[in-house]
């Protein structure tokens, strides 16, 4: 079962995503048809791919998402609830049983930033979670942040503060924007 010349994970991954040249692909297939060990590794990658895709569809991940992803899920018929508080301002928000995705859109001037962190804070401003070095489009003018819909549907009424912070090479930090989300629970459940 052990392979004496296993295919590198990078090559297998690129094979699955169709990123290899025709001759490289042929070599990989010549090997895979003869090798259970490498086939099983590819099987695990495919399994991961499928389940990760399902996770993405569940709306339960806490992450920054590109607009292309939001376009795609909308086209697929998912219901996306998006809140865009003004820079430095607050917005009242909620989530209903029919919603599939919950997005906070944080508008800011992102030009010139080398690295941006997204800080999720409690209502008193204390840091709850810091997402470091988030992906962003420097010319996009905003960051779309997906809150876990599973969490939001179960959460009590609460206030969350989001901050976008630019981190410079010397480690200095600059606040790009602060946004307050006043979440009101509208779904039945235990009191918060």
């Amino acid at each position: 079962m052990t392979c004496h010349s296993p295919i590198d994970l990078l090559v297998l991954t690129n094979y699955w995503f169709g990123s290899l040249s025709a001759s490289e692909e042929e070599k990989v297939e010549d090997h895979l048809i003869d090798c259970d060990s490498c086939s099983q590794l590819l099987e695990r990658i495919i399994r991961l791919a499928g389940l990760t895709g399902d996770l993405a569809r569940s709306g339960s991940l806490l992450m920054v998402v590109p607009d292309s992803f939001l376009d795609q899920i909308s086209k697929e018929g998912f219901r996306v609830r998006e809140y865009a508080p003004p820079l430095g301002g607050a917005i009242d928000c909620t989530v209903t049983a029919e919603d599939d995705f919950l997005i906070g859109r944080l508008a800011a001037d992102l030009r010139g930033a080398a690295r941006i962190d997204l800080c999720i804070c409690e209502s008193d401003g204390s840091l709850k979670l810091r997402l470091e070095d988030i992906p962003f489009d420097p010319n996009g003018g905003s960051v779309a942040f997906q809150q876990s819909i599973t969490y939001a549907k179960a959460a009590p009424s609460e206030t969350m503060i989001a901050r976008l912070v630019a981190v410079e090479r010397e480690g200095r930090e600059k606040l790009l924007g602060e946004y307050t989300f006043n979440h009101t629970r509208t779904m039945p459940g235990p009191p918060g």
Partner: protein, 181 residues
């Protein structure tokens, strides 16, 4: 016994004796590999299962009829049959679709082993533990199988950077889900 037997030995046994046990062993061995080929090229689970059935039937028929002159080259024969059959599927996609509707999920010659099971809760934890960029890249890659170039354009990074990040994230996920590469 079966595990110690090479693919070529099994193919020779099938060709020589048409022994049912050897045939089953050979089919069990190649079925998962052919299915992977099908999933990669057809991007459809049920089409991949159809490919397995068709390729293994052709292989068995060739061995029984003594058409495979060099059983040592069984893997090459199976791979070549996979390639031809996928081309054939693409040419006859319409006809295949009609047959599938007519016949539904009919009898299978091979019971395929199931894929390794992963716990979705653990996977969610593992995905959440990735670095921000890595998470976005891997989720975008696996959601609807976005092309590297599309992700690169969306995130303002290079295509090769996407490949490196994707590779790093998958390595981390596999480790997090248990077991080595």
């Amino acid at each position: 016994m079966e595990k110690n037997c090479s693919d070529a030995d099994l193919a020779r046994q099938v060709a020589a004796s048409q022994d049912r046990e050897s045939e089953d062993a050979l089919l069990r061995r190649f079925a998962p590999r052919v299915r992977l080929y099908g999933r990669r090229h057809l991007r459809d689970e049920s089409a991949a299962e159809d490919l397995v059935q068709q390729v293994l039937l052709i292989t068995l028929e060739a061995l029984r009829a003594g058409k495979l002159r060099e059983p040592a080259k069984i893997a090459s024969f199976v791979l070549g049959t996979c390639r031809m059959t996928v081309l054939d599927f693409r040419r006859n996609a319409f006809r295949r679709e009609r047959l599938l509707q007519e016949l539904g999920g009919h009898t299978e010659i091979v019971q395929l082993p199931t894929s390794p099971e992963y716990d979705p809760t653990q996977l969610a934890h593992c995905v959440q533990s990735l670095k921000e960029r890595d998470r976005t890249v891997v989720v975008m890659s696996f959601y609807d199988e976005h092309k590297g170039a599309d992700i690169a354009a969306t995130l303002g990074i290079s295509d090769s950077n996407v490949r490196i990040i994707r590779h790093r994230a998958i390595r981390q996920l596999l480790a997090c889900m248990g077991g080595s590469e």
